[in-house]
Symmetry: C2
Subunit: 479 residues, 2 copies
């Protein structure tokens, strides 16, 4: 039997009408009551444009207040929001718009003139000019009802639309609270895009916990630094590169005690960075999660951070995690289960059959559990390099490269080789000059010979996606 809960935003508007829901860089603040009222207003305007229960509404927008109202408005109508990545090409967007059966697209100003194949396109201003239509808003949420669709970056094949129900968002927020605690002064910073699950899930935490979020348009190292130093932000979701840049910015200073968590996602972090953070007493919680798990599903707790560097911790209550068919090195595919895990991809039975087996989501990631049950994520299965019958994990070589002080960023891929099948090739961005020979010399002290990159290539910028994750696929395209 599906559980029904009261609409979370209206609940907070009742419980804590005057508490801050959103804090903005310009100093603006929105209370839960205001957020409810503006979102309901937006819902009634959307209704006037024909949006109703079950409608698929695309949103193509950078983070801003209208986008927040829009997301909550969708929940008051029982529509489904398809959150689109603004960095995608028109072709890529058209694929997603069509695949997700989007009939109405809402955009911010910057993207309002893009030529996309959708019946109706409105900029926020055009929606705001609408009259409100008197419709019955949804004041209860059925946890099994779909709420959002986000496409996975799709390192192979076509992107797939991950459907998140209200329940997926709810349970994700709850599992995070059971892990990180719920403290009275919590304020979470969003600098990642709301069209990614990390940003979106934090927005949901705000209305589920009754907690303010500090909302940024995008990651800006100066503004994030300021938010931590002066705005009493307590938790920040970050990816590796952000931590690196924030630590560079911090220099010899220290963060105030109000900061209690850098929640680090987006793939395995180099050990050298985690050690640096440790030395500066920066509370980095490494985590593991993906769009399909509605953000993190495993997190390394603060008390274990010193003991288990490089681990993504243990699967949160109420998640389950196993290693499927582990090999001799205990490494196998990570499979997960739990009420925060998507029930499936939108209208993609083939992918669902392949990915969700007996209730377990097959993540495509490789990892192992140590004796105490801590998860170590090794790599994407598709990024695994098999060279002369040996498994080589790109992240291991990247970690070794990152220990060389002259190297700022590193990405490793496998390329076809007549003799070995595949061999590793390294791409590096430098802080300061160092020769390839010197790099190889330093690597050879750390790595077995067969793991040494057959080529090292210097590049100016590492290809990253909208949430700053390394995109190895783009490195492969450079080959």
């Amino acid at each position: 039997m599906a559980e029904i809960i009261p609409h979370w935003l209206s609940k907070q508007a009742n419980l804590s009408p005057d508490s801050t829901a959103l804090e903005l860089v310009d100093g603006g603040k929105i209370t839960f009551l205001e957020l409810q009222n503006r979102s309901m207003e937006m819902a009634r305007k959307l209704a006037g444009l024909g949006v109703k229960k079950g409608s698929h509404l695309g949103i193509l927008s950078a983070n801003n207040l209208d986008m927040v109202y829009m997301i909550h408005a969708i929940s008051y109508l029982g529509a489904v929001g398809v959150l689109l990545n603004t960095r995608l090409s028109d072709d890529e967007l058209n694929y997603q718009l069509q695949d997700a059966e989007v009939s109405i697209l809402i955009t911010d100003d910057k993207h309002s003139s893009r030529q996309l194949q959708v019946n109706q396109v409105y900029a926020y201003d055009e929606v705001n000019e609408q009259k409100e239509m008197q419709v019955t808003l949804q004041l209860e949420l059925n946890l099994e009802q779909p709420f959002t669709i986000i496409y996975t970056s799709g390192t192979t094949g076509f992107p797939k639309g991950v459907v998140h129900t209200y329940g997926n968002h709810w349970w994700s927020a709850i599992s995070s609270a059971l892990n990180l605690g719920l403290e009275k002064n919590d304020k979470w910073l969003i600098s990642l895009p709301l069209f990614h699950v990390s940003g979106l899930s934090t927005l949901m935490k705000s209305v589920i916990y009754g907690m303010p979020v500090y909302l940024m348009k995008k990651f800006d190292v100066d503004l994030v630094h300021e938010a931590i130093m002066d705005k009493k932000v307590t938790i920040v979701s970050v990816v590796t590169l952000m931590v690196q840049r924030l630590m560079d910015k911090l220099g010899s200073e220290n963060y105030p005690q109000t900061l209690r968590c850098f929640l680090l996602g987006g793939g395995p972090a180099p050990k050298v960075l985690l050690k640096q953070a440790q030395d500066k007493k920066i509370p980095v919680f490494q985590s593991y999660g993906m769009t399909e798990t509605t953000s993190q599903i495993a997190t390394l707790s603060a008390k274990d951070a010193l003991l288990k560097i490089g681990s993504a911790g243990k699967p949160l209550l109420p998640a389950e995690l196993k290693i499927n068919n582990p090999g001799e090195d205990d490494v196998g595919e990570i499979i997960v289960k739990g009420p925060m895990v998507t029930k499936g991809y939108f209208k993609n039975e083939a992918a669902n059959k392949q990915t969700i087996i007996d209730g377990w989501l097959h993540t495509g990631d490789l990892g192992y559990l140590d004796e105490a049950g801590y998860l170590y994520v090794v790599d994407r299965r598709t990024d695994l390099i098999i060279s002369g019958g040996e498994n080589i994990y790109p992240s291991e070589i990247e970690n070794a490269l990152m220990k060389i002080p002259e190297i700022k960023e590193a990405g490793v891929i496998g390329v076809a080789d007549d003799t070995w099948g595949e061999v590793p090739v390294a791409y590096v961005v430098l802080y300061e000059s160092i020769s390839k020979t010197d790099i190889l010399a330093k690597l050879s002290k750390q790595l077995a010979k067969y793991k040494l990159p057959k080529k090292i290539k210097f590049i100016d910028e590492m290809p990253r996606n909208a949430s700053n994750k390394l995109v190895r696929k783009k490195l492969k395209e450079l080959e």
Copy 2:
């Protein structure tokens, strides 16, 4: 689709094996790993006695470690625990044993020789002497599966067995966490019986939050005082009388800052007591709940405590609460809905039909919501006194009586009257001597004439149930 979650105790044994799960008055501590292992051991011994998935197992016991192991053992077997009140007479117990279809009863030493109508009875020692049977334990919990049955005190008619699913317990714990927060050093004290929902739900919070509980055999004012002063207990579930006795004990001292919440349940509290607590800066959170809602469903948040004395606050996320058919004074029956609310009474279709209507549980309690949505519980509907067509709420008269310094406790009931239909009669326990005339004189300054008790009776002890709640039914029996 029913949600499946990992077994909560085994999850905590994996997440925090060495963290304290239980702390005892004698200084003993049990970790989550030990608690899991002992509970699993108990489960295997019970299996040897024939307990299996779906078995109804009675537990007749005061709070102790064996009882805790027994409750978790039941969950590893997928059996259903029927938690019996040790204060009940043999006849009352036999009714519940038969109604709940209990085949095996487990008792503590004190109750092992009672003559009860059940096939198999074992004292804890007898269970502990069993060999462990190798059975497959349940390592996942289906949230729709029944876990416990607790009979409601039943102020009218026969007691009814409230079935709690794993989901009811889960959601109750989560709604409480969303309300009170989850702080790193939380330690909750249980001095109420585990056979009542208040004690039991706190035990469940321990394994859901990964939080230690400080477990007492029963309420003892000296031991509770000590636990707050010296053992860093942060939250204590209490009823009115306990607060009163604790404040008497506290005298001119103050509690340490570690104490962050007295969660007050068990019926409306006298305003005078709440004001006293306020003056001493004791953080009393008045709450509203019952067995059917798996403990509190509304709580007055700390920040509102000063503004809304006497209110039970607002319904917690994810609960809904309404006043059904309010009268001219806005008072009506309180009805509630949400995933922590029982799906029904055991094999009692008549009661279920009468009580749960369109998913809303009709509580039988009278109350109203103020303009801001705060709940004020007025009385049990069955305790309402209708005198000459006027509604008189016993608690209003009790509150007025409690403002008289000489009066320690007060209970008011309606008795049949030829002229008025019903009239109020007051029972009081005194601190020091005062005449009935003086009491009436003081009351008449506070209450309308028709609300003045027609009789005042002095008694030595107020009839209370096992959780120290006033039992007006027993006062009626005195008439």
